[in-house]
């Protein structure tokens, strides 16, 4: 059984044959996944991020939100916007709401002028706002 799991893991890595694929850290925060999008993404890496997120959403129970930190993205062209939209759509079909956090104002203006509508994803200016959209509360111990 353990061996089967191990070989399955290895298969997963073997399919990921991009030489310089960046490591995406995907953290769990309550019922949410939290991931940071790197500043520049090659096409394959964007797909890799999408796959990794979908895999995590499907494999873990009780997830109802996906928070994507896009504050590092300085330029979002129509392709990058398409990938973001598809991440949102696939998250939705896996039962989670995708929220983009920290979209830069210049990027937002550019997307609107470019005629791109991010319909499948919600946006929030701060992490707190994103969590309140998901009706999650951070309880601090006094």
């Amino acid at each position: 059984m353990a061996r089967a799991v191990l070989s399955a893991r290895r298969m997963e890595f073997a399919t990921d044959d991009v030489p310089s694929a960046p490591f995406f850290s995907i953290l769990k925060l309550g019922a949410c996944l939290f991931a940071s999008v790197p500043p520049q993404l090659r096409d394959v890496h964007a797909r890799g991020l999408q796959d990794a997120l979908a895999r995590r959403l499907a494999s873990e129970r009780g997830l109802r939100g996906l928070l994507l930190d896009v504050s590092a993205l300085g330029i979002v062209d129509s392709y990058a916007a398409k990938v973001l939209g598809e991440i949102g759509a696939s998250a939705r079909s896996l039962g989670a709401r995708a929220i983009l956090v920290g979209l830069r104002p210049a990027v937002a203006v550019t997307l609107v002028e470019l005629g791109i509508d991010l319909t499948h994803v919600e946006t929030a200016m701060s992490l707190e706002r994103a969590l309140s959209l998901l009706r999650m509360r951070l309880v601090s111990e006094a």
Binding site: D43, G74, D77, Y79, R104, V109, E113, G115
Partner: protein, 216 residues
């Protein structure tokens, strides 16, 4: 008669504006291009020098007025319009699209506002991606030209791909493509001041876009 160097021109233009003590350290921080003779720097090198000098003046508590800045630029250029700056990027992979984004942003940084930089880099990225998607390979040229009291960035995307059959239809906004090409070009036009397409089936495509900015 020897032509003065840029450094000499800067020190003459700043004479009387900043104290002598500040002058030495401002001159010491100038980029290596300052040792060239006046009038040889292109528009990007000139602007970088002007920015550097005005930042230096600011650290000593002063500020260059608009007139003084203009005077300084004229001294560096020896009274002429500086040569245009041209950057060529050959596009044949998705990596090159990222290269185009970075190159465009570093080129625009000293001339355009922050939002305009993002607009331009996004537009350049769209044009480069069109090359990569539809023609597989081609070339994108970014040219920064100084015009009177301003600059103009021109993006020219050139490829030998399949070409566009009905350019007027694509730009009218009624064209719907599965791949999103038509929307992309209209969006790119919205980000710029103007966009022209020269294309016919089998003859390749040349897309030229431009945006202007005032020189501070």
């Amino acid at each position: 008669m020897t032509v003065p160097s840029v450094r000499d021109a800067v020190s003459r233009a700043l004479g009387g504006v900043v104290p002598t003590r500040a002058m030495a350290s401002i001159l010491a921080t100038l980029p290596p291009t300052a040792s060239q003779s006046v009038g040889t720097l292109d528009v990007v090198a000139t602007q970088e020098l002007v920015k550097q000098v005005s930042a230096g003046v600011k650290t000593f508590g002063g500020a260059l007025t608009l007139v003084a800045t203009r005077e300084l630029r004229r001294a560096i250029c020896n009274g002429f319009t500086p040569a245009p700056h041209e950057a060529r990027v050959s596009v044949s992979s998705d990596m090159d699209v990222l290269v185009v984004q970075t190159r465009c942003q570093t080129l625009c940084r000293n001339f355009f506002g922050a939002t305009d930089c993002v607009r331009l880099a996004t537009a350049a990225s769209e044009l480069a991606r069109n090359i990569y998607l539809y023609a597989k390979r081609g070339e994108l040229t970014l040219t920064l030209t100084e015009e009177f009291s301003g600059v103009c960035l021109t993006l020219v995307a050139r490829d030998q791909g399949p070409g566009i059959a009905n350019v007027a239809h694509v730009l009218s906004g009624n064209y719907v493509s599965k791949t999103g090409l038509g929307r992309g070009l209209i969006g790119t036009r919205a980000l710029l001041d103007g966009l022209e397409i020269d294309s016919a089936p089998g003859r390749g495509t040349i897309v030229k876009g431009w945006k202007r900015a005032r020189l501070a």
